[in-house]
């Protein structure tokens, strides 16, 4: 199937406005200089120690995510619209969470099937009836966006739990500024380095009722073997707060404390980077070595805040995703600014029939899957792969959703032969606390293989610096 893709830089034979400066930049760059810079970038990343370990793949635990030096650029007008759409979505998702752990109006009024909410694995019965400070469940909302035309943006999925990758957004920028200072003088690029400060302010703004005075914030990590450990440590460092593991925290009376060299110190806000299931073995998983026994009791009695709040995952489930536009209309009384991708739910008989008949043209994903695993990209698969996948769908249809294969936009990317278009997506990070804030930028992931539409770093994807130009 021949498809034309929207090239974000070259459209109708000319460089689009936000990319105009970059045209001279690449044309003036000799090949030797480019490989020199690429090597310099890699050395910098290695020295900083940003690496990414992929679960279950073994091999080099110090693998780098490939960094492409060609930036991805948004004009101020493009960004303004995206920003409004993202904030709108973050507001609706949080309103939904407060609702479904409370009266459940959206279910009662028949807008979302109760089964999808209350029987969802991510629905946390332990927090029913509890409203977290400021009514915020998801404090960091990562919204994955793709683009198919000059004005066509689609939301691919929402990440309401603990979206990762923001450290790449920040480090990519640092490295670009260090390597190409001239570019930053010639283009008016909005800075992103306030992210850690805003994150800390957001977290402090949701301190629990029992906290008096300046709240103590910590980042909770599963530990240094986790693939995102670098990011946990980076964020805690940039915010100037402690990075703790489960073993560093304990519950006594109505509060949570961390073990310090000076004795116990009370903790007020926990930015957790571990899954719900591992938060508290008394409440969730008795076999968990990672959790803090008794934490949930303290949480529910207002002794500590947990960000994102336990139970937030029900909002970013791929089966719930379909209903987000409905949430926006229901809670905010607004029309969605950003659109969903058309989605077929294999759990529905009609949809299943359509999906099985058109597998060759669809992308099929597991409802609870992530990281680009367990998915089928129809147009890029062999007949045998498609048939095998069809069997898996039939065995458990409710576990799969399907979407059309989107014509993901491309951005020029440095490849061995020079510069060539490669497909990209975008993940901005929206912060929700006392205020809703978004730094102008995000993580652009790029599929480095020619023609590939899978941008996940675990599947050969790379990253780019993402610029938003000042107005």
């Amino acid at each position: 199937m021949a498809q034309t893709y929207f090239n974000e830089m070259y459209h109708n034979g000319r460089a689009r406005e936000p990319y105009q400066q970059l045209e001279n930049w690449t044309q003036a760059m000799p090949a030797e200089f480019r490989s020199l810079k690429q090597a310099e970038a890699e050395a910098l990343f290695r020295r900083i120690g940003i690496t990414f370990a992929v679960y279950g793949e073994g091999g080099d635990p110090d693998r780098l995510i490939p960094f492409d030096m060609f930036p991805r650029v948004f004009s101020n007008a493009e960004w303004t619209r995206l920003e409004r759409g993202i904030k709108q979505r973050a507001r609706a998702l949080n309103a939904f969470l407060v609702d479904v752990y409370g009266r459940g109006e959206i279910v009662r009024t028949g807008r979302i099937p109760g089964r999808l909410v209350y029987q969802n694995e991510a629905y946390e019965k332990a927090v029913v009836g509890f409203v977290p400070p400021r009514g915020v469940y998801s404090h960091i909302v990562g919204i994955d966006l793709v683009r198919t035309g000059p004005d066509d943006f689609f939301v691919l999925e929402d990440n309401c739990r603990t979206p990762s990758g923001v450290s790449y957004m920040l480090e990519n920028r640092e490295i670009m500024m260090r390597m190409f200072p001239t570019l930053f003088r010639e283009n008016r690029i909005q800075p992103v380095d306030s992210y850690p400060t805003i994150l800390r302010r957001t977290l402090a703004s949701v301190a629990p009722a029992k906290c008096t005075g300046e709240p103590t914030v910590v980042v909770l990590t599963p530990g240094h073997f986790n693939s995102a450990y670098y990011e946990h440590s980076f964020l805690s460092d940039m915010m100037g707060v402690e990075l703790v593991e489960g073993q560093d925290l304990f519950v006594e009376g109505e509060f949570v404390y961390m073990r310090t060299t000076e004795g116990p110190k009370k903790v007020d806000v926990i930015y957790r980077r571990i899954d719900d299931a591992f938060i508290d073995p008394l409440c969730f998983r008795p076999d968990s070595m990672l959790g803090i026994p008794g934490l949930m009791d303290v949480y529910r009695s207002g002794g500590v805040s947990i960000c994102s709040a336990p139970g937030a995952g029900v909002a970013d489930d791929k089966a719930i995703y379909t209903y987000v536009p409905e949430m926006i209309r229901f809670y905010l009384g607004e029309e969605p600014i950003l659109h969903n991708v058309q989605t077929w739910q294999c759990g529905k008989a009609d949809d299943l029939k359509y999906v099985l008949e058109n597998l060759g043209e669809l992308v099929v994903k597991e409802v609870h899957g992530s990281g680009g695993y367990g998915m089928l990209v129809g147009p890029k698969s062999t007949k045998a792969q498609i048939e095998a996948f069809a069997e898996r769908i039939k065995a458990n249809p409710g576990n799969y959703i399907a979407q059309p294969t989107l014509a993901l936009s491309t951005v020029p990317t440095f490849v061995n032969e020079g510069v060539a278009p490669r497909h990209v997506d975008l993940r901005p990070y929206c912060l929700v606390g006392e205020r809703i804030e978004l730094v102008p930028g995000g993580l652009t992931r790029v599929a480095l293989t020619d023609g590939s539409l899978v941008v996940n770093s675990s599947q050969g994807g790379g990253v780019k610096d993402t610029w938003v130009l000042a107005g």
Binding site: S233, F234, V244, R259, T261, E262, G263
Partner: protein, 317 residues
């Protein structure tokens, strides 16, 4: 700070100091092997190195007979040997990675660069790598890290835990190096005071980068008595037991002042310092150097346990 963070900092320092000691041991071995052979019934000097570093058993299991080349590899590169230089640098880097936020960029850089270069060394053919180059490489990186710590780390509790790690490890390591010489290297008591004996003492001094310092401090003949004094009781000597214990005390005192709280660690450190401060070489030799060192190593281990209990375990309420 978090107890676990303090623990990581402490172990970064212990691992790096240990790596340096291993490099020094390798240098002792290389020099001793250049001496004329000492005759029958005497295990090779290289074997005694393994004994000294506490890695003899692991080595025997893996390689059998002590062959110089294998020993070099085992002490430098072998990840199966938890005390090898590669393992120590790997351990230091892993601990540093966990507490990146508590380290300055320069300190992290020093550790990470050592680790990355180590990996590059591991990929090279062993035949291209000369032993002296490897030991000097180790000491250079150890010095770079030390310098980065002294030059850039904030003088907060974290700095104290790094230094505690260095001094506790150094106290232990110097005692062990001394013990090797006296107990393991020399084939039998008849050799005490012989030419061989003195030559080995000189090598030991060299390995501690202290032979010139020694001559400045004492002059004349190298004797067991003088060296014992230099490495045990002379607080001018940077690796002496007394200096190390003084260092431990200084940093524990800073912690006690900063936290407004004294613990069992300070008590144990002070008791050890009090003993060393009053001790004479005669008393050490009377007790028997080996016996004294064995007891000292035990006391240092106890001190380490007290530090762990008071600050690193997080059990203090």
């Amino acid at each position: 700070m978090l107890s676990r963070t303090a623990d990581n900092l402490y172990w970064i320092a212990r691992y790096m100091e240990r790596a340096e000691t291993m490099a020094r041991l390798l240098e002792v071995g290389a020099r001793i092997s250049l001496l004329p052979s000492t005759g029958e019934g005497f295990q090779s000097e290289w074997d005694s190195l393994l004994q000294a570093s506490g890695t003899a058993e692991g080595f025997a299991k893996k390689y059998g007979d002590p062959v110089q080349r294998n020993i070099e590899s085992y002490i430098f590169f072998d990840r199966d040997n938890p005390s090898s230089i590669a393992s120590c640098i790997g351990g230091a880097r892993e601990n540093a990675r966990i507490v990146r936020g508590a380290l300055t960029t320069q300190v992290w850089d020093a550790i990470n660069t050592a680790f990355q270069e180590m990996r590059a060394l591991e990929r090279r053919a062993r035949s291209e790598l000369d032993l002296t180059m490897l030991t000097e490489w180790t000491m250079r990186h150890s010095a770079l890290l030390r310098g980065a710590i002294d030059g850039t780390q904030l003088r907060k509790d974290g700095w104290d835990f790094l230094n505690l790690g260095y001094y506790v490890e150094r106290a232990d390591n110097t005692a062990r190096l001394l013990d090797v010489k006296y107990y393991v290297l020399l084939p039998s008591v008849e050799f005490v005071g012989s030419g061989l004996d003195n030559m080995q003492w000189t090598i030991l001094l060299r390995a501690m980068s202290a032979h010139r310092a020694f001559h400045w401090a004492y002059g004349g003949e190298v004797t067991a008595r003088k060296i014992a004094h230099f490495l045990i009781l002379n607080s001018q000597s940077p690796r002496a037991l007394l200096t190390s214990v003084e260092g431990v005390n200084a940093h524990l005192d800073r912690l006690a002042r900063g936290y407004g709280r004294t613990t069992g660690a300070q008590a144990q450190a002070r008791a050890l310092l009090a003993e060393l401060a009053e001790l004479t070489v005669e008393e050490v030799l009377q007790e028997g150097l080996h016996e004294f060192l064995t007891r000292f190593i035990r006391e240092v281990a106890k001190l380490g346990a007290e530090v762990h209990e008071a600050y690193l375990s997080g059990d203090q309420r």
